[in-house]
Amino acid sequence: MSTNLVLLAILMFAVTYPSRALGLLAPGFDRLPRIAFDYLQLVGPAVLAALAAVSVMVVVGADDIPSFHVGIEWVAVFVCLAIVARRGNLLLGVLAAVAIVVIARAAGLAAIPV
């Protein structure tokens, strides 16, 4: 069983724990410049949106060259986005996305990625 990524988990802990602990263990930390807090507040949406977009819009072929991809995954992810925006239910959104992809692939309307 591979254990290489256990070290990655430890390193992720090492950079996450200070964020969680600084405010609790070092009172006064909330006196950072306002712009730093503003930037931090925007990091989450930007990183997560970039991850989602790159995941569904960019594929890397066997030749290791990235290319633009259009597929049923766009529809699935958009439906998830709409459900979360309207209903605030992430679990429902993900289940809907999975259902769309499963049905489309089972019906032969979308290719199964290799």
Binding site: S19, R20, A21, V43, V47, C80, G93, A97, V98
Partner: protein, 284 residues
Amino acid sequence: MPPNAPDGSPSPAPDGTLSPSSDDAALRASRRRLATDSIGIGISAVGFGFAFGLAARAAGFSPLEAMAMSVIAFAGSAQFAAVGYVASGLAWPAIILLTALLNARHLLYSAALSPWLREVPLARRAGMAHLLTDEAFALSISHFRRLGRADERGYWIGAIGSTFIPWNLATLAGVLLGARIPEPARFGIDVIFPAAMIGLAVGLVTGRRELVAAIVGAGIGVAVALAAGPAIGIVAGGILGPAVGLLVPRSMARETAPLGTPASAEHYAMPGTHVESPSDRRES
């Protein structure tokens, strides 16, 4: 201001407005509410922990590696993101940098909880910090504000019962079951990751700045990914998106739920569960 008792019984609020000895009934009622809310969040954590286990397995994580992520890193969206980073071949230093950025919002949570928990012994605060997630923050800040004071035991109940235990058990189930699925794409498992990412991103959009940061981050991410590879695209989008978002003037931002405030607690996990404390009413 007296410290918390060793059993975790409540200490007064930062503003010292309430007498903790006089409202045991309120404490019990608020803890019941906390437990009920924790069950709802726990169910969600089970769903996403399971999805994380499946996604991690599909990306080649072993059960031990997936569990290490959930127990040690214990950071839901960053864990999902790490699956994507690893699958896209991103170098570890970049993964660490992005994880730090993605989880930096916890600074705001810990800063917001600090006034409530400053009487808790340092060692226990250090332990509490590891369990400080979006959900734990949302549950505890709402609980404290209902009570008008801190309740250490309530924090542990919310953090461990709603998230840590269900998330880890579900991760284990997902990663073990994922290994038994011969053709994961047929079951749509490959779309769990981007769907979860976009859903989490939507949940973080509480104003125009976040919206701009998300759209620009996605656009830059895709453009740079096509030119230089997915890994670099994700980094570029994650770093430049917020910078562009900051260009939206504060007067036009329409921020509805700044992180680290009760409004964000309501927004992120528990709509309708925040009840005004007497001190809130006085302030308003």
